[in-house]
């Protein structure tokens, strides 16, 4: 049941928020039983009930209320109720966002018909839900992959856009991972199911999204404790003021006292804290990253060092030939032609790039295609070179137009030499050190050139014709677009990037310095990552890394933040605490930034919330002790008493919806040094938090006066 229509809709972004549902949800959340989970807002609701009673009949609460103020009590009650509603609204909006992500993901996960192969390869149609780990399935063109599995047979193009957002189909061959929910766009595959239903990536992603509100992360828990503490302090202050007022006949009106109390309570952060956490998870899932816990996201923000694999993270992974360098008196064209032939059977991207370069430079031996007998020399670990053997070397050595390049006498000489050696022409290419071992002597300038290419960050490859080195190929590593900026951003934030590569030291050094990395490890072996993780952790750093192979699993488990590629092995994904469905290793940097943003947003709103209280004190206290006219001197706002109280309450309530967008998208920040970020945020949210309410309350107060 290949539902290709669903493919037009990318998960997570497709749904419009259902405002009626959000509104009704926000209202039902206002029931005291549900609100009790958020102590601050629960108290506000209780305060509303008290003021509502006063509004209904002031005589019910004597001593601290007056008949003349009944209209005022109604206003206060309404604003208190609005405050509670704004809080539940922000929760509802955040959760609606999550639900829309989850439901679009669920659409992909829906049950499909699958073809299970029995032991005698007989196909039986079953539901995708009944597939179990180890089952063999067959998927054909146009069909949806029913569940996560590993390709056993066949090669096919698979559209994973629903899951990864990447529109170009991906080629899948044996041992590759298939993600449930992706669609075959060509051929057919036989694959083995690798998980039981409910444990697929998709269901894990949905799970993460849906459970995002539940367990409090350590930071959230600590903030909650702080909020409770502040609430306790203000409760003590208010109760003792009420008590003193009654004893000393200070004439404090309960509604004003309650207004002050509610204004002082950390309502802003109290209301937005759940939404901030939910939106953090949501932004992760929008990036197609499955975090195994909310804690993992926070830890990502704490990262001190990131281990980056050179290939795939910093460079595109495919090296490209850019230059043919002749040695020992040979011409560049000669080298190009030899290189072209040596790559004839080389199907790797590098090989193809060598042939492309030869085409571009016009180094294709003219009659090469008519070679009747050519035999591939396969790459072997012992010789570390590959190439081909030709039976008719003459055609190669006398290409048309070659005369301008090759001196006749030299060609003759060479031809003679070839003849002497036999009819075969043996062309091969390989790593310079491997080649140097296999030939009797290297031409003059060989070592220097190899050195030079390596130190400019490129990879040299030597070309031999009949065991004589004719020249070198320069293979250039291509940096991923934008990687330099990303690494720079990481560095200014005080995080150390560590590059890991199997390249030789010179190449590694050059690439590292090109992107601005000071710390790199070259000639890396499979166990190197683990060593680096241990080394960094020993210097008390929080380490983030990516990995995909089984080799990486121990290091992924040891690292504080381990991001596994969905295309990687099972072991790697089990060991990591996050999985990237797009299998883009450079995303580790985004993960770290997301974690930072999450923490920053919480800190910003907390600071803002506490700083706001200063202005509210100055606004309300002079009004509260209205029986003490001398206090008029500290009434800096100069508004009529009741207007001040209402304005402060309205400001207090209005800040919550005003900050919902900030909570949902996170505090914006430019990658800067810790101190600059701190100063900027401290000024914006700290100082701004002190000043803004003065302006806001005054403005609202003047507006109320006009009415």
């Amino acid at each position: 049941m290949g539902n290709s229509d669903a493919g037009k809709q990318t998960a997570g972004t497709g749904h419009k928020p259902d405002w009626t549902a959000i509104l009704s949800e926000s209202v039902t959340r206002m029931s005291p039983a549900r609100l009790a989970r958020n102590p601050v807002m629960f108290i506000v609701e209780m305060a509303f009930i008290v003021v509502a009673i006063m509004a209904a009949d002031p005589t019910l609460i004597p001593l601290v209320s007056s008949q003349a103020q009944q209209a005022f009590y109604v206003y206060v009650a309404v604003i208190l109720l609005l405050t509670v509603w704004f809080s539940t609204l922000s929760d509802s909006v955040a959760e609606a966002q999550v639900r829309s992500t989850a439901s679009s993901l669920k659409q992909i996960e829906q049950e499909v018909q699958a073809k299970r192969l029995d032991s005698d390869r007989h196909v039986s149609p079953v539901s995708s839900k009944s597939l179990r780990k180890g089952d063999i399935i067959r998927v054909e063109k146009g069909e949806r992959v029913p569940i996560d599995s590993v390709v056993l047979e066949g090669i096919a193009m698979v559209d994973e856009s629903l899951l990864t957002g990447e529109s170009a189909p991906v080629r899948k061959a044996p041992t590759d991972m298939l993600i449930g929910g992706s669609t075959l766009v060509s051929d057919a595959l036989v694959a083995q199911v690798s998980v039981d239903p409910g444990e697929t990536y998709l269901s894990k992603l949905i799970n993460m999204v849906e459970s995002s509100a539940r367990p409090k992360t350590p930071n959230e828990a600590a903030i909650s404790v702080l909020l409770l503490g502040l609430t306790a302090i203000f409760t003590v202050v208010m109760v003792s003021i009420l008590w003193l007022s009654v004893t000393l006949s200070l004439g404090v009106d309960l509604s004003v006292l309650i207004a002050l109390y509610v204004c002082l309570l950390p309502t802003t952060i109290g209301a937005l804290l759940p939404a901030i956490g939910i939106s953090g998870i949501n932004r992760m899932s929008a990036n197609r990253i499955i975090a195994k816990s909310g804690k993992a996201i926070e830890t990502a923000g704490d990262t001190d060092a990131i281990l980056l694999d050179k290939t795939g993270t910093i460079t595109l992974g495919n090296r490209v030939a850019t230059d043919f360098i002749p040695l020992g008196g040979h011409s560049a064209k000669e080298v190009g032609e030899a290189a072209f032939m040596s790559s004839w059977y080389d199907d790797t991207p590098e090989g193809r790039s060598i042939m492309n370069l030869a085409y571009e430079l016009g180094c294709v031996p003219r009659e090469f295609r008519s070679i009747s007998r050519a035999e591939a020399t396969e790459f072997s670990a012992s010789t570390r070179k590959s190439g081909l053997k030709l039976a008719r070397p003459g055609l190669f050595l006398f290409p048309k137009g070659g005369k301008t390049v090759l001196q006749r006498s030299r060609v003759r000489k060479k031809y003679a030499a070839v003849k002497e050696q036999g009819p075969e022409l043996d062309i091969s290419k390989g790593a310079p050190d491997a080649i140097a071992q296999s030939v009797r002597s290297v031409p003059e300038g060989f070592d220097e050139m190899v050195q030079e290419i390596s130190s400019s960050g490129d990879t040299p490859m030597a070309i031999t014709v009949n065991n004589e080195v004719v020249g070198l190929i320069r293979l250039k590593d291509q940096l991923k677009p934008g990687i330099r900026d990303k690494i720079n951003a990481v560095k200014v934030m005080g995080i150390t990037p560590v590059m890991i590569t199997g390249d030789q030291p010179l190449t590694a050094k050059s690439i590292a310095s090109e992107v601005g990395i000071d710390d790199y490890v070259s000639r890396a072996k499979p166990e190197t990552k683990m060593e680096v993780v241990k080394r960094e952790q020993a210097s008390a750093k929080i380490v983030a890394m990516i990995g995909d192979g089984t080799n990486d699993a121990p290091a992924l488990a040891a690292a504080d933040v381990g991001l596994a590629m969905a295309s990687g092995t099972m072991a790697a994904k089990e060991a990591a605490n996050m999985v990237d469905l797009e299998s883009n290793p450079a995303k580790i940097i985004d993960v770290v930034m997301l974690g930072k943003q999450l923490l920053m947003t919480r800190g910003a709103v907390t600071t803002f919330s506490v700083a706001n209280d200063v202005a509210k004190y100055f606004a309300i206290v002079p009004v509260m002790f209205s029986s003490l006219p001398a206090l008029g001197a500290i009434n800096v706002l100069g508004l009529p008493p009741q207007t001040t109280v209402l304005a402060a309450l309205i400001f207090n309530a209005a800040v919550i919806p005003a900050l919902i967008p900030l909570a949902l998208r996170g505090a914006r920040f430019k990658p800067q040094g810790t101190m600059s970020i701190f100063l900027k945020n401290a000024l914006t949210y700290g100082l701004g938090g002190v000043v803004l309410p003065f302006i806001g309350i005054e403005a609202i107060g003047q507006f109320i006066r006009l009415l």
Binding site: S240, A540, I542, K596, V610, T674, I677
Partner: protein, 549 residues
């Protein structure tokens, strides 16, 4: 307003004290880290004897809980001893004036007052206490309560530092605090005071004939020895009811400034000691600067209004030194006085209250720095998140349980002040003492409980508070005010000790930016908590244009 010479004078006094404290911290570091010293030859046998007598092994590392229990049990013991002496002084020797035993509630209040380093005095010493009580009860407690304060600080420092095996052993710290720090320093200070004219005798009170021909009894006694430890240990409980406004306790400008220096020296050395113990002098310096900035702000508030004092309200040293003394005594939790508080401008009282609300600028001996660390934990947590990292201090991540403990420590203070304040007015205990219900009376009662909760001992009600209600209520407040803060900080320190330390890449806590952030957040937290009661007390007095409180 302060004149330029006065500002320079303050700057000079502070510079001398800070330099002395820096030197002292070096010595203290050696004392508490057990470095070999030339004094060992004389002191080690003494110390070993003490350990053997009380039957403890000073090398055993205590957990935070064990350390706290040791502190608590010791304080219970000291309180009981003091209580017994005060009640039974009529039957005990060294009582030339034949004073009778103290009333039970005054004795309870006094015993707790001195064992908690508060020194709130609901009695006038010279007309109530025998020499035995002054020395064996009062002076003994002034030594041990100061030592307990230092011990707690050192234990907390060890925990925050993480460079030590554990948070230490209470008995080891305690004995060394007495033998190597407080006793030698107090002896030297007492000798200087005696040479400057402070009496020190065990003979009876002296009767002198005055110029007018009449006879006057001069209350003398072992004054110098008590004054030295009372200031040094930020105790503040004087020999006389008038405290250092009595010319025998504070005869000259020299003794006046010497006593101010004594109040500040050990307290000021604590941040330096902290810096040494955590292995980063800058961290200690930052906290010292923060404490002095707040102390300076208090001084500025105090001098913002008119500072002339009515005649007969002080020792004749002038309004400048009296005001400076008062702010210093309340900022350091010493609480000693060289003038009557009722003589001051409301702003001076406001500054004094502020010092006692904050308790950490620079605060009481040892405990002041402990409260500063509590503020640091709260501040780092609130603002540290804004750099996008889990807040950490000295490389230790701040966990929910730390916030829980710090919040308990912080919330306890306003509860201990405001609940008894409202209670005192509502049950009529205030009107029973004859204190009014206007802003002045309100301030007096607020001051009483603030002083008790902060273990300051500065006293605005004096013997008027010698009622059962105030004796018992302030005793409870002093006890809880002392031990809640100590308990939570020992718990935090203990848990930090074993926690993994990470590279410090978050918010830096050793520079002037952090000083600013810390100072602002301490002030905001304090104002948010106490603004309403300040408004009803000193702020109202000031706005009503009252010249004095």
């Amino acid at each position: 307003m302060l004149s330029l010479p006065q500002l320079l004078w303050i700057a000079m006094i502070w510079a001398i004290i800070i330099a002395g404290a820096w030197l002292l911290a070096k010595y203290l570091f050696n004392v508490y880290t057990g470095k070999r010293s030339r004094l060992d030859r004389f002191l080690e046998p003494v110390e070993r004897t003490i350990y053997r007598l009380i039957g403890v092994d000073p090398s055993v590392q205590m957990t935070g809980r064990e350390y706290f229990v040791a502190v608590l049990l010791f304080s219970v013991f000291a309180t009981a001893l003091c209580f017994a002496i005060l009640v039974l002084q009529g039957y005990l020797p060294f009582n030339p004036q034949h004073f009778t035993g103290m009333r039970w509630d005054t004795a309870l209040n006094t015993a707790i007052s001195f064992s908690t380093n508060t020194n709130l005095q609901h009695y006038a010493g010279e007309s109530t206490l025998s020499y035995m009580s002054q020395m064996a009860a009062i002076q003994f407690e002034q030594f041990v309560s100061a030592a307990v304060g230092i011990c707690v600080a050192v234990a907390v420092f060890r925990g925050f530092s993480g460079r030590f095996k554990g948070i230490g052993n209470f008995y080891y710290d305690f004995v060394r605090s007495i033998t190597r720090v407080l006793l030698p320093m107090a002896v030297i200070a007492a000798l200087v005071l005696v040479s400057a004219g402070v009496p020190q005798t065990l003979g009876g009170y002296v009767t002198a004939s005055t110029i007018g021909g009449g006879a006057q009894t001069l209350a003398v006694g072992p004054v110098a020895s008590l004054v030295s430890i009372m200031q040094l240990g930020t105790n503040g409980g004087g020999y006389y009811g008038a405290n250092s406004a009595n010319p025998f306790q504070n005869p000259t400008p020299f003794t006046n400034w010497l006593e101010i220096a004594l109040m500040l020296i050990l307290v000021t050395s604590m941040p330096f000691l902290f810096g040494r113990m955590v292995g980063n002098a800058r961290e200690g310096r930052t906290l010292l600067i923060a404490a002095y900035v707040i102390y300076g702000i208090n001084i500025a508030i105090a001098f913002a209004g008119a500072t002339t004092l009515a005649a007969g309200m002080e020792t004749g040293l002038g309004a400048f030194s009296s005001t400076f003394w008062t702010v210093t005594a309340t900022s350091t939790m010493t609480g000693s006085a060289n003038a009557a508080l009722s003589a001051f401008n409301p702003l001076v009282i406001l500054a004094a209250l502020f010092g006692m609300f904050i308790q950490a600028a620079p605060g009481g001996i040892g405990v002041g720095m402990v409260y500063m660390l509590l503020y640091v934990v709260l501040t780092v947590f609130i603002v540290g998140l804004m750099v996008g990292r889990t807040p950490e201090y000295l490389g230790v991540k701040i966990l929910p349980k730390d916030i829980k403990n710090a919040v308990i420590g912080f919330v306890a203070h306003p509860i201990l002040i405001m609940v008894p304040l409202a209670l005192a007015f509502s049950v009529g205990a205030v009107s029973a003492t004859g204190v009014g219900t206007g802003p002045t009376g309100f301030t007096q009662v607020l001051y009483e409980f603030t002083s008790a909760a902060a273990n300051n001992g500065s006293d605005f009600m004096g013997v008027a508070a010698n009622t059962v209600f105030f004796n018992v209520s302030t005793a409870v407040v002093m006890w809880l005010g002392r031990f809640i803060g100590i308990a939570v900080m020992l718990v935090i320190a203990d848990s930090m000790l074993h926690r993994q330390r990470v590279a410090q890449t978050g918010l830096r806590t050793d520079n002037l930016v952090f000083v600013a952030v810390l100072v602002i957040s301490i002030i905001i937290l304090t104002v948010l908590t106490f603004f309403p009661v300040l408004v009803l007390g000193p702020i109202l007095s000031s706005l009503q244009g009252l010249g004095t409180i």
